[in-house]
Symmetry: C2
């Protein structure tokens, strides 16, 4: 049993009693228990969810900055990835987990290779994660029994998804195979969608329709519906927004990566939410976003919406925190995944803080980080 | 004499010897002097220059977030400013100075009221600043002998400028008076220019020309030339960019404020620089930008240029550091205003750090901040 004493919850001082990995109760500050954790001056928030990452890529932080996208991929990132080993992937992921924990993130939704090494780092870090098995081409890996075996055995900390990289690197056959396997194993699909205008143009040239129309035509939207998690979703037609919304898909906005790679900036946040989509936030890998700071992502997301819409009332702080936490709250019977920061208000957290501001992070009721 | 031992300068380990307030020499790390400051693992950079701020407004951080611009001003900021006293302005400025020093900023270019109280806080904080005397209407204050007296007596730490608020709050008569006084006292002019589309539209409706054309018509550009420092400069015609460039004016980009207030985002950084303008960076006041973190401003400036131009090669890290430091360098006979951070590269400073990352700040050769 852990008691968080005198923490600020929505500006009100409370004691929070955690039993095992769950919040048991929240009440007036009164404890005189000397083992209670003194949280005076700290506000408490639900742990942040980084919904699009490539954790091992912390190894490539700063590699090929300021280069054109194709040079960055061909001359920097892909050659570097050829050098990876299980040990490096483990170390890179552990580094990523420590960076995320120290900045208030308690869960991440990843996409990469060498999942057993990544899973080992997640377990060691005590975070929660969903690891996407990255698929290219025709998805032949899904015929391998060891792959299917891996995907069928989540742990208390590590779940899995199937992660076809994109519609331009996975064939229609591969996409269909991924969808069927998702359905068979009851796994989400994690995919990059509509990241660049070129992806859209090439899709129209190759398939005669836009990327989301291709997924629809392949039957994948009806088949998987709201278990699809799509990163980026920058370049969308009205018809695509309607398709995404109708199927309740999760769209993950990664503003730092989109800006830095010059992919675009007009993420249709309001339009997607109004259509029925679930909007969440992510950092992308540290090779493109340079850090894994979800507090920074909250600020840049809110500022960017206000900026390109030229509307200061767009995307207020409470809305952006909802997107960064999946709408979770600090309440009894919720899992005790949370963080504390020395701020007086939500505004100070979103607009005046950074990951470095976080004072304490708790996952499954355990204090995994303390400044 | 201070010795900074084993600091990284452009990735190379050096010893830096500071004599008084100046860098005396830079050489190979060799000191065995036990009084030397061990800078192992820290990179060294010129102190950041925050070229547009309203320091006392740290008192209003978070006030009226997410509100429309006119509501924010009329219902929140202006009533709050009515409550200010010299003591509050002193305290707000001191808070601002401490926040800036702790995030690597060694100089700020301010604009506000109650300058003696602000000057006192600057002296106490040991920063350097140029304080702009804020002018509205017809600039009658400039007839007051106490105002002229103040402006004529800078100190080693505090210089002054005359700061007509904008072309829509200062009359043409007032603007002319400000310009004449700037010329007479050899002071720069600090002004908000072209911040919103509405400012441009109203100027055209009232004066029949755009804001910079108005300053030109009033003779102010020819009169003051490169001693004009203009904040924002978001909404510019080609003709205005040519005017600004030809007169060598300093344009201060404040991306956080511009985004948060919904003023716009297409700051013509390259176009202004190509035309001959000097581009620098600022936070604006903490009421609109919520913090005074110039490292964050560097990142958001670089990302925003890459983003709206859809060009990842735009505004590389070295260019943005130049804008944030006024092109200064760490070299002998330079004033010892600098900061150190635990980063391995400039990329890590610009793209992966925040103000909180700063480990040490030195102003006039004195260590004014140490984490």
């Amino acid at each position: 049993m852990t008691i968080l004493h005198n923490a600020l919850l929505d500006g009100k001082a409370v004691d929070i009693i955690i039993d095992g990995n769950m919040i048991q109760s929240i009440g007036e500050p009164r404890t005189t228990d000397t083992s209670a954790v003194d949280c005076t001056g700290l506000s408490i928030f639900p742990g942040l969810m980084n919904m699009h990452s490539h954790a091992p890529m912390t190894l490539f932080r700063g590699l090929g900055d300021d280069q054109p996208l194709d040079v960055w991929l061909h001359d920097y990132i892909w050659p570097a990835e050829q050098q990876l080993t299980d040990q490096l992937v483990y170390e890179g992921t552990l580094k990523a987990c420590h960076e995320m924990i120290a900045s208030g993130t308690t869960f991440f939704n990843d996409m990469y290779f060498r999942l057993p090494a990544i899973a080992r780092a997640v377990e060691d870090s005590k975070m929660h994660a969903r690891l996407g098995y990255n698929i290219f081409g025709d998805a032949e890996e899904l015929d391998r029994s060891d792959v299917v075996e891996l995907l069928m055995h989540p742990s208390a900390r590590v779940e899995y998804s199937i992660a076809p990289h994109s519609i331009y690197t996975v064939s229609p056959t591969g996409l269909r195979r991924c969808a069927d396997m998702c359905q068979r194993l009851h796994l989400p699909m994690h995919i990059h969608m509509s990241e660049t205008q070129r992806e859209v143009d090439d899709c129209i040239a190759t398939h005669g329709c836009r990327p989301w129309e291709l997924l629809d035509r392949l039957g994948i939207l009806d088949q998987l519906g709201d278990s699809i998690i799509a990163a980026h979703c920058l370049h969308l037609s009205d018809h695509e927004i309607e398709l995404i919304g109708r199927h309740g898909i999760t769209c993950v906005h990664c503003p730092n990566s989109n800006l830095k790679l010059g992919s675009g900036f007009r993420f249709p946040m309001t339009e997607l939410a109004d259509a029925g989509a679930r909007v969440m936030l992510g950092t992308d890998g540290a090779a493109s976003s340079n850090n894994l700071d979800m507090i920074e992502v909250m600020k840049i997301s809110a500022l960017l919406q206000k900026g390109w819409r030229m509307d200061p009332t767009s995307t207020p702080a409470a809305a952006i925190l909802n997107m960064a936490t999946g709408g979770r709250s600090i309440a009894p019977r919720q899992r005790a995944d949370l963080f504390l920061a020395p701020v007086k208000s939500l505004s100070d957290l979103v607009y005046a803080s950074h990951g470095e501001s976080v004072a304490m992070t708790i996952i499954d009721g355990q204090t995994v980080y303390r400044k």
